[in-house]
């Protein structure tokens, strides 16, 4: 390790003397090497620390145990799918047999009710966070534009936003749950209640940063562009479409990226708290389960949650790069 570090320092020193091309190559090597070194160092410290901590559920999982669990979780998923397939085959065969005996028999088709696997939970969480996020954008962006354009509206609504913004959406969760049970009554609901609960919680936490960023972006639009619009006598709607919306795209995206990050964190907590299906429920169930494998399975979930959060942020950044004219604001 120390030899490596010494080599790196030497590399730094030599750069000032070497040729330009060598310097570039060194830079590239450094760029590729440093994250790997960081990761290796982290794994090393993790396994040393894990070895020295013993909990009531056994040793704290090190990297090796977690990797084994990833494989286990995948195998469980595959075997669950096989069971499901087998169940439908049996049901189909049974129905076919009964129809053969009695042509008047109306076959009953029952859905498979096996437990959700890790991969299913990931998909559920992703669907929930994206639906909540999109719903929030549909509400927040027009509202933000209206508030940004109208000083009167801003003065009327701003106090409400400022009070509700710092409220953790988890505090809303009991109210949301009760309201959904009271109001979302249907014999054959298109969405399950737990999905609606999580969705509204995600929406509640996404709305505020988006409204605030959009309205600030709209309100601080370059006066020259407003003047251009006035000289051209653009009608109000064209003004919003051609000037205001493109001008505030960078601010809108800043708000969207912020709120997607928050939404992902909040969703996991909401799923844990409300026992709504998803990654949060997986973590909670494993914790309650308390087997010798639970901790390593939770650790695997933690890593997946982190990776998905990272990928969501990258995806937003990529979207911003495609849609925004201001490339400088989409660099990091």
């Amino acid at each position: 390790m120390s030899l490596l570090i010494r080599n790196l320092i030497n590399l730094d020193r030599e750069q000032s003397f070497s040729e330009q091309s060598l310097l570039m190559a060194g830079q590239k090597l450094k760029q590729a090497l440093l994250p790997i070194l960081g990761l290796l160092g982290f794994l090393l410290m993790w396994s040393i620390a894990a070895n020295n901590v013993t909990t009531s559920l056994g040793k704290f999982p090190g990297p090796g145990a977690v990797i084994t669990q990833f494989d286990n979780l995948y195998q469980e998923h595959v075997s669950e799918r096989d069971k499901e397939l087998a169940f439908y085959e049996r049901q189909h065969k049974r129905n076919a047999d009964r129809i053969a005996k009695d042509p008047n028999y109306v076959p009953k088709v029952r859905a498979y009710t096996g437990k959700e696997t890790f991969l299913d939970q990931i998909l559920t969480s992703l669907k929930t966070v994206l639906s909540g996020f999109i719903l929030a954008a549909i509400i927040a962006i027009p509202l933000g534009i209206a508030i940004g354009l109208s000083h009167t509206l801003n003065q009327a609504i701003n106090p409400i936003i400022q009070v509700f913004k710092p409220v953790s959406p988890l505090a809303w969760l009991p109210l949301v749950t009760m309201l959904v049970s009271a109001l979302y009554v249907s014999d054959d609901p298109f969405f399950s209640k737990s999905f609606v609960n999580s969705l509204i919680t995600v929406t509640l936490c996404c709305v505020w940063p988006m409204v605030i960023n959009t309205s600030v972006g709209v309100a601080s639009i370059n006066q020259d562009w407003v003047n251009v619009s006035q000289v051209l006598r653009l009608p109000a709607l064209t003004h919003v479409r051609k000037i205001v919306l493109p001008a505030s795209i960078p601010a809108i995206f800043t708000g969207m990226r912020m709120s997607l990050g928050i939404a992902w964190m909040v969703l996991i907590a909401a799923e844990m708290l409300a026992q709504n299906p998803g990654l949060g429920k997986f973590v909670w169930d494993e914790f309650q389960n308390g087997s010798s494998q639970s901790l390593s399975r939770i650790m695997a979930a933690v890593i997946v949650i982190g990776l998905i959060g990272f990928l969501l942020d990258r995806a937003m950044l990529q979207l911003q790069r495609w849609l925004s004219w201001d490339k400088a604001s989409a660099k990091r």
């Binding site: 562009w225 003047n227 251009v228 006035q230 000289v231 051209l232 006598r233 653009l234 493109p246 004219w325």
Partner: protein, 282 residues
């Protein structure tokens, strides 16, 4: 020639927390069709305020602006403005920036093909045909200002308002742009009001130079007729006695009659104070 624009005794008063601030007092000017007018004066004298009132972006407190004998109170494309900082929309290409204006002004009277030709014609007029489909951040400052001028011209304005159009450009680009503007002016003979700080630019381009007194309560000090024959050539004029006479008249107005008294910052006492605080620390 008939009067197209009548700036009739306008006052401009801005309310401030410390009381009213009179920026303009009885600014009175009649402009004939096809005339090129320069407004010159020290910074802060209210040149831009005059232009904004004519553009309709500000409302005069007293007096009125009459365009073809009709009072104007709001902005409109018949008084096109070229702003100092080009003010192109950065998310649109040069072509699309002009298109926005053309669609707004001519969508009822022109076919799609006619509009396309008209946009391209205006961009060609300012020598931007090679970079029509580039965005503002891909072209130089001078080119942006050319597109800004093309956008204003494409509205076929009754009067063209230029707010220090070349102020942000380097000297060589500025000279280029002035020549281009003269060329366009020979062809179209628009009525133009241009704000400038640059004495040479004013003398070279204008039919009349309107010199403004210092604010507050700025007004028109003198009006100078520039009787140099057109087309004008900057190299030939450099040694022209009449050109130099006019130039020195403007300079005399600006630097003798309306010498701007700069508030000189009390640099020495501040320094002393700093020294004292240093010794106090020591």
């Amino acid at each position: 020639m008939t009067t197209i624009l009548d700036i009739s005794k306008i006052d401009m008063v801005f309310p401030t927390p410390k009381g009213d601030f009179t920026a303009l007092k009885e600014v009175d000017l009649k402009i004939k069709k096809g005339e090129f007018i320069s407004l010159i004066g020290h910074s802060g004298c209210g040149k831009s305020t005059v232009l904004n009132v004519v553009a309709g972006l500000h409302q005069a407190t007293n007096g009125a602006v009459l365009l073809n004998n009709k009072e104007v109170n709001e902005p409109g494309p018949e008084r096109a403005v070229v702003f100092q900082n080009h003010s192109l929309l950065p998310w649109l290409t040069a072509y699309q920036n002009v298109e926005l204006a053309v669609k707004q002004v001519f969508s009822k009277t022109m076919s799609a093909k006619e509009m396309q030709d008209w946009i391209e014609h205006n961009l060609t007029l300012v020598h931007m045909e090679h970079a029509m489909h580039k965005r503002p951040d891909e072209i130089s400052g001078g080119m942006k200002q050319r597109v800004g001028i093309a956008r204003a011209l494409s509205m076929q304005p009754e009067i063209l308002l230029l707010d220090e159009p070349f102020g942000a450009l380097d000297a060589l680009t500025r000279a280029h742009m002035q020549d281009s503007l003269m060329e366009i002016q020979d062809e179209l003979s628009n009525t133009v009001i241009m704000i400038t700080h640059d004495v040479d630019e004013a003398v070279l381009l204008s039919d009349r130079i309107v010199m403004m007194t210092n604010g507050p309560a700025a007004t028109i000090g003198e009006i100078l007729d520039v009787d140099l024959p057109r087309p004008r050539d900057r190299l030939a004029l450099a040694n022209d006695p009449r050109y130099n006479e006019l130039r020195s008249e403007v300079l005399t107005f600006l630097y003798e009659k309306q010498r701007k008294i700069e508030v000189i910052a009390p640099s020495e006492p501040v320094k002393k104070e700093a020294d004292e605080s240093k010794s106090a620390v020591a």
